[in-house]
C-alpha cells in the first residue's frame, strides 16, 4: 500500500485539467546538506558503525491547494554521499558511494505567517554505486518513510522567494546481505537535512 500511495497522488495530479493545475500549483526546489544516522551498528572484535557521510540533498516539490489551510505536496528527493565504516579506533573506511531517492506525498500548512510545517509519507530506495558488502545482495527494495519539515521564511528571505528548511525523516533499514549475516531486525534510521528552499513558481 505504501508503495502505491505516491503513484496514486501523482496520477491524480495529472488527471486534474492542466490549465487549472498550472494556475494553482507552486513548484519548489530545496538544496542543502543531509546527515544520516547509523545504518548498521555491529561488533566484530570491536564495535563499528556504518553510515553515510554528510552529503548534498536536492528536493523538488509541487504544492497544490486543498480546502482550508492545507496544501497537498508531492515531493522527490535525491541525496548522495560516501557510505563509511567508522571503527572504534577512529579510523574511517569508505565502502561505496550511496545514493538515496525518495518520492512522497504530504500535507503542508502555514503555522505562522513566516513558518510552514509539512508532514509526508512515501517510499525511498538506497542505490549503491557498487553491489558490494552489505549491498552485495541488493538494497532490500523500496522502504516506506515518514517525514516532517519546517520552512522559515523571514521577510528578507521571503522577498527573494527563499526559505530555510529543516527536515527530518525516519525509515527502517535492513539488507538481504545483513540478514544472511545474522541480523534479524531492521534498524530505525533517521535523516536530518538543512536546506535553502526556493519558490520556482513564475520564475522565467
Amino acid at each position: 500500500m505504501m508503495r502505491r500511495a505516491p503513484v496514486v497522488m501523482w496520477m491524480s495530479a495529472l488527471i486534474i485539467g492542466p490549465a487549472t493545475l498550472a494556475a494553482q500549483v507552486s513548484l519548489h526546489a530545496a538544496l542543502g546538506a543531509r546527515y544520516n544516522s547509523t545504518l548498521v551498528h555491529d561488533s566484530i572484535v570491536s564495535p563499528l558503525d556504518v553510515r553515510p557521510a554528510i552529503g548534498p540533498a536536492l528536493a523538488l516539490s509541487a504544492d497544490l491547494p486543498l480546502s482550508g489551510p492545507w496544501q497537498l505536496e508531492l515531493l522527490a528527493d535525491l541525496s548522495t554521499s560516501p557510505l563509511e565504516r567508522h571503527d572504534q579506533d577512529g579510523s574511517t573506511v569508505t565502502i561505496t558511494r550511496l545514493w538515496t531517492l525518495a518520492l512522497g506525498v504530504g500535507l503542508r500548512r502555514h503555522l505562522h505567517p513566516w513558518l510552514d510545517g509539512r508532514f509526508a509519507i512515501g517510499a525511498l530506495n538506497y542505490l549503491p554505486a557498487q553491489s558490494v558488502g552489505l549491498f552485495s545482495d541488493g538494497s532490500g527494495g523500496v522502504i516506506p518513510f515518514g517525514s516532517l519539515a519546517f520552512d522559515a521564511a523571514p521577510a528578507p528571505l521571503a522577498r527573494h522567494r527563499l526559505a530555510l528548511e529543516l527536515a527530518g525523516d525516519l525509515h527502517k533499514f535492513l539488507t538481504p546481505a545483513l540478514r544472511s549475516a545474522g541480523f534479524t531486525e531492521s534498524r530505525v534510521v533517521y535523516r536530518v537535512s538543512g536546506s535553502v528552499r526556493i519558490d520556482l513558481t513564475g520564475i522565467k
Binding site: 565504516r85 508532514f119 552485495s136 516532517l148 534498524r187
Partner: protein, 211 residues
C-alpha cells in the same frame, strides 16, 4: 504545531531501538604457525589477482574472489583481476595439466585435485617479500570425470584464495567449511564468514608485499 512536534518526538523515540548484533566469533584459528596475523590492509585494496589464462582458471579465480568479497560486509576486502602477472598481489597457475572445461559435477565431492598457496617473508620477517603464489594441481592415479575435476578445482580455488586473504590455517570442520582440507563444500560457510570477518578486524603483525 504541537501535533507536528509530538509526531517528531515519537519518531525519535522509535529511532532509539537497537537491533541485536549477530555472533561474529571465529570458528577456527587464522594465524600462521608462529601466531602471526596477516590480512590485506585498506590501502592495498583492491587486491590484484592474476590467473594463468588457460582453461577455466581465470573464471575460477574471479568467482573465488567474489565469493570471499561477499563474506565481508563493511568494505574490509575487495579484489580485482589483472592480466599482467608482474602487477599482481596474488598469482594463480595450474601446477601442470589443464583440465577440460565441463559443467561441475553435483554429486558427492571427490578429491580430484589439490592446491597450495605460498608467501615468502622478507629478510626482516615482518612483511611478505613478493606476491602470493598459488598452484592448482589435477591429481592422477584415479580416473575422475571432467565434471568431478571441475567441481574440485572450483572448491579448491576458493579454499586457496582464502589462504591468500590471510586464513592461514585449515578448518577442522570438513562438513561445513570451505577452509577444511580437502574442501568438501562449494561456498564459504557461516563459520568461514565469521572467521574471515574476525581476521579482517584484527590488527595484522605481517605486512603485505611491496608493489
Amino acid at each position: 504545531m504541537k501535533r507536528l512536534l509530538a509526531i517528531g518526538t515519537a519518531a525519535l523515540a522509535l529511532a532509539c531501538f537497537e537491533p541485536m548484533v549477530p555472533n561474529h566469533d571465529p570458528t577456527y584459528p587464522f594465524t600462521d604457525q608462529f601466531g602471526d596475523v596477516f590480512h590485506w590492509p585498506a590501502n592495498r585494496l583492491p587486491v590484484r589477482f592474476y590467473a594463468e589464462p588457460r582453461g577455466t582458471l581465470p573464471a575460477l579465480v574471479s568467482a573465488a574472489v567474489d565469493a570471499w568479497q561477499r563474506q565481508l560486509l563493511y568494505g574490509e576486502f575487495s579484489g580485482t583481476m589483472v592480466s599482467d602477472s608482474t602487477r599482481a598481489d596474488v598469482i594463480v597457475r595450474w601446477a601442470d595439466s589443464v583440465p577440460p572445461d565441463a559443467p561441475p559435477d553435483n554429486g558427492p565431492p571427490v578429491k580430484a585435485c589439490g592446491g597450495v598457496t605460498q608467501g615468502v617473508l622478507d629478510t626482516s620477517g615482518t612483511a611478505f617479500a613478493g606476491p602470493f603464489e598459488t598452484q592448482i594441481q589435477i591429481l592422477t592415479g584415479t580416473v575422475f570425470s571432467a565434471g568431478q575435476v571441475q567441481a574440485c578445482v572450483a572448491r579448491t580455488t576458493i579454499h586457496e584464495m582464502g589462504h591468500a586473504l590471510g586464513l592461514f590455517q585449515e578448518s577442522p570442520d570438513s562438513l561445513r567449511d570451505i577452509m577444511a582440507a580437502p574442501p568438501r563444500v562449494n561456498q564459504p560457510s557461516d563459520g568461514d564468514r565469521r572467521t574471515v570477518e574476525a581476521l579482517y578486524h584484527t590488527t595484522p603483525t605481517l605486512g603485505p608485499p611491496p608493489r
